[in-house]
């Protein structure tokens, strides 16, 4: 990247990247080292306040909060990747198809889309959990499916915009087929929009996992998850608010990070600003 481009990078993007980087760093580090075994139950050290050995203290089972947050970061990232992956892989081709295919097909796809959009994501995830058994994976596939409409809509509107440009006409004048135009011309030019949508959806997925785990439909014990840490802190909220505050802040950092990253990327990838770079 040139220095000129560095200067134009918005602080939003930088702050977002730092916060997301922090979560990624925690997750990666947790594979190599954690201060304690995050799942080790030890009645002797239960409900300790912050000490030198236990930086944020321990929970009601004597598990180290720092270690749980670190391993929980993995769950958070896993969740985001699965949900966004499902949504992008299904939603993007659907949106492009809706824009490029025959009109009746486009209308049909978009109406089904509206139907899915009208259905609350969390309710869908709870249904999935009830039918297929509660796990991080089923919850996230459900959240991913619920996010498909956002990707389909954005891919469709981006495609319509690209299809009306003269270079698509020029590509047709050069003898390109429709499929080749979708692949070579449309996809690269809507990729920016989809990347932005991904990071925003990532944040929503992280929050959804926390909410589902809180309700008991998400990550099963003993896998550490920030949402479940919140849930387990519930009964002790009045006496040990620390147990809720620590995972709460972690969730807030991850969600804020991905949202800022999305906003920052949108500003940088906005096609209307492309000429000025």
């Amino acid at each position: 990247m040139t220095t000129a481009a560095m200067k134009r990078r918005t602080p939003t993007l930088t702050v977002g990247a730092i916060l997301v980087g922090l979560v990624v760093l925690l997750a990666v580090m947790s594979f190599l080292w954690t201060p304690h075994d995050p799942t080790r139950v030890d009645a002797a050290v239960r409900l300790l306040g912050p000490t030198g050995d236990y930086l944020f203290g321990t929970d009601k089972f004597g598990r180290d909060l720092v270690s749980q947050i670190m391993v929980g970061a993995r769950t958070t990232l896993y969740v985001g990747v699965v949900a966004v992956g499902v949504a992008a892989v299904i939603g993007t081709p659907l949106g492009i198809l809706a824009a490029m295919g025959p009109r009746w097909l486009g209308e049909f796809v978009m109406r089904v889309n509206d139907l899915v959009l009208a259905f609350p994501a969390l309710l869908l995830a709870i249904m999935f959990g009830a039918v297929f058994g509660a796990s991080t994976l089923t919850a996230m596939i459900a959240i991913g499916i619920a996010t498909v409409p956002s990707f389909a809509r954005i891919a469709r509107s981006g495609t319509l915009q690209v299809m009306s440009t003269e270079y698509v006409l020029a590509a047709r004048a050069a003898g390109r087929s429709r499929f080749a135009i979708a692949h070579r011309h449309v996809l690269p030019n809507v990729a920016g929009l989809l990347i932005v949508q991904s990071s925003v959806s990532f944040a929503i997925a992280v929050l959804a996992e926390a909410a589902l785990s809180f309700l008991g439909f998400g990550t099963r014990p003993p896998t550490p998850s920030w949402g479940r840490m919140l849930q387990e802190s519930q009964e002790l909220l009045a006496v040990q608010p620390r147990l809720a505050i620590v995972p709460g802040i972690a969730i807030a950092i991850a969600v804020l990070g991905f949202n800022l990253l999305g906003d920052g990327l949108r500003d940088r990838l906005d096609p209307r600003l492309a000429g000025r770079r």
Partner: protein, 268 residues
Amino acid sequence: MSVLTVHGLNVSAGDAELVRDVSFTIGKGERVGLIGESGSGKSVTASAVMGLLSEELTASGSITLNGKQIVGMPERQLSRLRGRDMSMVFQEPMTALNPAMQVGKQVAEVMSLHRTQPDRRSARAAAVDLLGRVRLPDPQRAAKSYPHQLSGGQRQRVMLAIALANNPSLLICDEPTTALDVTVQAQILDLILANTNDSALLFITHDLAVVATVCERVLVMYNGRIVESGLVRDVFTAPEHRYTRQLLASSDLEATDENGRLRTVSHD
């Protein structure tokens, strides 16, 4: 035998007729100008020839390119002709190139697509050659640049390289110089002239001076019809149709009307 024969072409959008009973032919190596004001049906005629009319428009009549009927031809067959037997240069070089693809790739693609080059590498080499032929400075480097790194004139050269890549028998230029400044216009026109010796050329413009420079014959369109046609020399010296006379009078920058203003075309 003529390369392009258009006979009784009608294009309509629902009840509105945009092009009415248009007929003309262009032979091998012949350069024909199509002039007329905005909305007179010039570009629609060109789109019909390329088979690129938007879905709301319907064409009837006959358009044959090297004996093949274009009207009603399935899209799959059309796409085989486009870019190989006929190609088109558009008005707006700022938007007619894919912003996310290197220009060398865009030139090479039209050759790999129609298999006029055996493989990717030779297509790439041919693309660099073509970029040199349209006189882009440092074609090696130009091939690796993205459209936004090139000026308007340079992009139009790239467009021309794409259009000429497969030696089409018909080249359509839809106001290729309108968006460029005057000095660049002259260079682009020279290039078009130098590279279309064997091709039939249909040159759409509303610049009469350009027609006089480039074309041998001229068609004048007005309100969806061809109102006058003939050799450039004849039409420009002895215009028959009222619209052509007004058009010529309005392009004379020394003649003024009784109020001391330049002449314009009246609509009634």
